[in-house]
Assembly symmetry: C2
Homo-oligomer: 258 residues x 2
């Protein structure tokens, strides 16, 4: 089975979507076929990579609400080898809808068993900043978790809640999803809090913290408005591209991919 | 009735908690009695203003789950005149619990009718980055909405979803909560995207956009780790304090308070 990585942290604005989109682009540039599934009601990843006009016929919300195969939600993107399953506007009611489903934490995992995702080397799940049923479904359906943490105090605090939730998923549902690692984001060495947070993180989680992170970079703020990944927005040799090349390297090592 | 302001934007990390905590502190310094209610499962506001050791006996989750009066959740803070209703660890299950309540969008509004909040001049609600039932309850229970928007592209996109949700609340529940205004946050004039986002926002929402916003400021990243508001963390004359003084001025004008 291919790796299915859920990019999750219920703290808002830590860089989940930025990592999901650019990691996907980096892996595609290495010749891998990647599927990015947008499970956030905001549809940030869909806004960057999806079609600019109108809602696509198929989307994740429609498949989950109407029990349709996930393959109907998958569309190509401007990047060869990178496909997207966009969120869909009705995503806001999916959580409530899942609440009454049988085996409600496994709805997404069941949808994955269909042929839809077999063709991909890697599947990435972008999740909402909320540990509701849909994000729990993403955790249960994934093989690994990647946890972005921005170099600030409040995001650090949120990690306890995430770990407690993973503990309940293990105890009550019997699924133990390994953490691929914690990735530091918005690293700004001019600020003392960056070094403090990094030191705390490495002390608490040891080598579960990725060696390299993503530096603060205005290109990451601007590239989404051009519907581009960092690889298209920045010229060769840019800092953002370098950060994501290193991230791809380390993800490959941790997954045991060559 | 006193103003009840819900600080809401389902986009994560735009500065909701930072505004909730420091606006509360600024208003208390003007002699107003303020209650801050933490409705975010992350409990960021509770982490800054609440007791450092252990979970308080009463909290919002407990009151909503067990039907207890909200007054049991209210605790004093280190700031005279500022009380807090902390979130509570069981907040994560409140959304699912609300799903089966009668009049489920009005549970919080009903809890407010008890004597608990009558003693305050101003009530602030910090909400989660998610438009689930609890945040809908906050919107329905409030008299005004304050919407922080950080100067980036993806947060701008999220505004459409928020306005669509407010439209549904009006049509389906019959409650029309006025927007007190949109507040620009993390303003960094060195970045071109700041001017672009501000121009787009003012063009779209006109004078619903506050004249002054909150500038990017490392003190806002650090003050939460010291469990302090910006007024304690920064010396007199600091930029953060100046920004919140102007914000308090403009909130008072828009509420018609003298
Ligand atoms: N390294 C970076 N440097 C500067 N800005 C960044 C960086 N990474 C992300 N951003 C910007 O910060 C904002 C938050 O990032 P992003 O939307 O990826 O976070 P998120 O965790 O997906 O948010 P949400 O919790 O709302 O889903 C975005 O506007 C993004 O463009
Ligand atoms: N003006 C600012 N300058 C610099 N950093 C800021 C500013 N305002 C907030 N921050 C920092 O940015 C991060 C996000 O802010 P905050 O937690 O207040 O946002 P939020 O919208 O409440 O997030 P969530 O969606 O997770 O509830 C925090 O670490 C905070 O300390
Ligand atoms: Mg996101
Ligand atoms: Mg918050």
């Amino acid at each position: 089975q291919q790796p299915i990585i859920a990019i999750a942290n219920q703290k808002g604005g830590v860089g989940k979507t930025t990592i999901a989109v650019n990691l996907a682009a980096g892996m595609v540039r290495r010749g891998r076929r990647v599927l990015l599934i947008d499970l956030d009601i905001q549809g940030s990843a869909s806004a960057i990579l999806g079609r600019s006009e109108g809602e696509p016929d198929g989307n994740v919300a429609k498949c989950l609400l109407e029990g349709r195969p996930l393959s109907e939600a998958i569309i190509p993107t401007a990047y060869d080898g990178l496909d997207l399953a966009p969120a869909g506007e009705r995503m806001a009611i999916v959580d409530l809808h899942l609440a009454s489903a049988l085996g409600r934490e496994h709805v997404l995992a069941r949808a994955f068993r269909s042929v839809a995702i077999a063709d991909y080397d890697l599947v990435l799940l972008d999740t909402a900043p909320y540990l509701g049923l849909l994000t729990l479904n993403a955790i249960v359906a994934s093989t690994h978790l990647l946890v972005p943490v921005s170099c600030e105090y409040l995001p650090m605090l949120g990690l306890k809640l995430l770990r407690d939730t993973l503990g309940s998923v293990q105890q009550q549902i019997g699924i133990d999803v390994p953490i691929l690692g914690y990735v530091l984001t918005m690293i700004d060495r001019r600020e003392r809090i960056t070094d403090e947070v990094e030191a705390m993180l490495r002390k608490t989680f040891g080598n579960q913290v990725f060696e390299h992170g993503i530096r603060i970079n205005t290109h990451h703020k601007a590239s989404p408005s051009h519907r581009q990944t960092i690889y298209d927005y920045e010229p060769a040799g840019g800092r953002g591209r370098a950060d994501f090349e290193r991230l791809c390297d380390e993800v490959e090592v941790r997954l045991g991919l060559s």
